[in-house]
């Protein structure tokens, strides 16, 4: 018996003029799993993530989150429904400290940002919640540092923290290791590994070592279509995948 999927994509199509970016894509992300989406450059990974996130509308097909159809929802509505996201290019609040970043995310999650009287940054409840977020990714000890001063790797981790702060049921991580050195890359992989079982994760990643280390299941996207889904062993043994993708990497 399989459990109900957290995220279910069914028959998703998207084209830009003559270019078909997403071709009848269906797959499921199960509770607590790390599901990796891989594919060669230009396979349409980001286009697919944009549709799940709500930044692009699919031409056809449906996206269900915890059984609820979210295909027509806006980005903020999807986030509140349970989709968290980190971006390919670091996307944190540069003008604020790490702690302030987390406080703003925490007040957003609580849904009471329309308050005009009490100061946000000295609110004990918000600060406590913010520290909880930062502890999950190991940034609590540098809470007072401005986001602007952070090294690239720390900034990526802060972004992951902000995505987690919305208490998502599925986390979309769009190349979380992009541009980080080997050390930061390992740090990030360890954090993602620790999240396994707490939240379902859809991980888009180029680094095959990371993917094979982290992913419970892998879906392979080639020219907009999913050609295989399975465990790391199944995927590395799959002939179609070898031909289309792994083959050209040697």
């Amino acid at each position: 018996m399989t459990s109900n999927p957290v995220l279910e994509i069914t028959h998703l199509d998207k084209s830009f003029g003559a270019l078909t970016a997403t071709k009848n894509v269906s797959f499921r992300v199960l509770p607590g799993e790390i599901h990796s989406l891989i594919g060669p450059n230009g396979a349409g990974k980001t286009t697919l993530v944009q549709q799940i996130y709500g930044a692009l509308a699919p031409d056809r097909g449906h996206i269900h989150l915890m059984g609820r159809d979210i295909t027509a929802l806006s980005i903020p509505e999807r986030v509140r429904a349970g989709i968290g996201r980190s971006f390919q290019i670091s996307n944190v609040l540069m003008d604020f400290t790490i702690l302030e970043n987390a406080i703003i995310a925490e007040q957003a999650r609580r849904g009471d940002s329309f308050r005009f009287l009490y100061p946000a940054f000295s609110d004990a409840n918000l600060i406590a919640g913010a520290y909880q977020i930062l502890e999950r990714v190991g940034l609590a000890d540098q809470a007072g540092r401005p986001a602007q001063d952070l090294a690239h790797g720390d900034r990526r981790i802060l972004e992951l923290a902000l995505a987690l702060a919305t208490a998502p049921s599925v986390l979309l991580l769009d190349e979380p290791m992009a541009g980080t050195g080997p050390q930061d890359s390992r740090r990030m992989a360890d954090i993602i590994d620790r999240l396994r079982g707490q939240v379902a994760i859809l991980l888009i990643e180029h680094d095959m070592d990371v993917v094979f280390r982290l992913a419970d299941r892998i879906s392979v996207l080639v020219e907009g279509a999913i050609i295989a889904t399975g465990t790391a062993d199944e995927i590395s043994g799959n002939d179609a995948v070898k031909a289309a993708y792994l083959g050209d990497e040697g």
């Binding site: 903020p76 986030v79 703003i104 007040q107 957003a108 940002s113 009490y118």
Partner: protein, 339 residues
């Protein structure tokens, strides 16, 4: 209830401590008439009122421009709407000042909501242009309304606030002063609040705020309406101060003036717009006089000096005058700590 009030008073006290410069300036305006009385310079009360009014409007615009990162080039329109609400109500025989204020604030709130709702769908240069376009539309609307004086505007009486007769000396001065202090107090609470923090976060990175599950447009429109209402209040008082309303009050150059005042004083600071208004209007007042003494032949061309001074402050004083003051204080402190 009592606990709540005590809480607010504590927050207010903390806020005043954190924004000493703003409250020093406001206190200075409160004491200024004593100086003009003993120095026998009643004309300067008039200058001070003008500074407070433009400073108040600039503080309102700063919520949008500085804290929210929305470059609105049409805020003079709200000053104009506020002022015309006073003029038009008097035209129809309504002399009650409280009613004037109510009309001004409500009208500016509605205008801010409509303009904000439409203009905030754009950003960057388009937003600047569309806010300017709305302001110009309103400007020419009032130019074309012959009933209300058209181009020439109309003379009005100072509003009637019941117990207070604004024609008594200094009554209008202190009405403006109280409004300025209230605006300062309100903004002080707003920018630290969850709403204010969210507005600043949107300026910093709108797509991240969206990814947190918030709808940025709602916060931007709310900020826009608040700032429009503050400019409307300044406009209504402006009308009483001038005893005259004309489309000139909402000329596009005034929108520019407000922006220069904010940038001169310091974007996204509470004291900046007020300090900027003081320096801007004092320069405007003093430069011609100074030049008349030093180089009489050029006294009319005081703007030749005015422009470069503004450009220098903007170029070399990052963070405007408030930024300069902060750095100067930090340097002093560092100097004192040296062995």
């Amino acid at each position: 209830m009592l606990g709540y009030c005590l809480d607010l008073m504590r927050l207010g006290r903390d806020g005043i401590r954190d924004n000493r410069l703003l409250w020093l300036l406001i206190a200075g305006f409160g004491l200024f008439p004593i100086f003009t009385h003993f120095a026998d310079l009643p004309f300067w009360n008039d200058v001070a009122m003008r500074i407070m009014l433009l400073g108040m409007a600039a503080m309102g615009l700063n919520l949008v421009l500085g804290y929210g990162g929305m470059v609105s080039f049409g805020h003079a329109a709200f000053i104009g709407i506020g002022a015309y609400c006073v003029g038009i109500s008097q035209f129809y025989g309504i002399t009650n000042g409280w009613a004037h204020l109510l009309f001004s604030l409500v009208a500016c709130g509605i205008a801010g909501l409509v303009i904000g709702y439409l203009a905030l769908r754009t950003s960057g240069i388009y937003f600047i242009m569309i806010t300017l376009a709305f302001a110009q539309m309103l400007f020419f609307l009032f130019v074309s309304l012959e009933t209300y004086g058209g181009d020439d505007g109309m003379s009005i009486d100072r509003a009637d606030f019941g117990v207070v007769d604004l024609y008594d000396p200094l009554r209008l001065y202190f009405l403006i002063w109280i409004c300025l202090a209230l605006v300062g107090l309100a903004l002080m609470f707003i920018v630290r609040s969850r709403f204010g923090v969210t507005l600043r976060a949107i300026k910093s990175n709108e797509s991240r705020v969206e990814a947190m599950g918030l709808v940025p447009l709602r916060f931007k429109i709310t900020g826009y309406v608040i700032s429009a209402v503050i400019c409307g209040l300044a406009g209504a008082l402006f009308a009483s101060w001038q005893e005259y309303v004309s489309p000139d009050i909402m000329h596009w150059t005034r929108s520019g003036e407000l922006m220069i005042i904010i940038i001169l004083g310091g974007l996204a600071t509470l004291a900046g717009p007020l300090l900027g208004a003081i320096v801007f209007l004092l320069l405007e007042e003093m430069l011609p006089w100074l030049l008349a003494v030093v180089a009489p032949a050029y006294a009319e061309n005081w703007m030749i000096l005015f422009g470069p001074i503004l450009i220098m402050v903007v170029m070399f004083g990052r963070g405007g005058l408030v930024g300069l003051l902060d750095r100067w204080r930090a340097a002093n402190k560092a100097g004192r700590l040296m062995p």
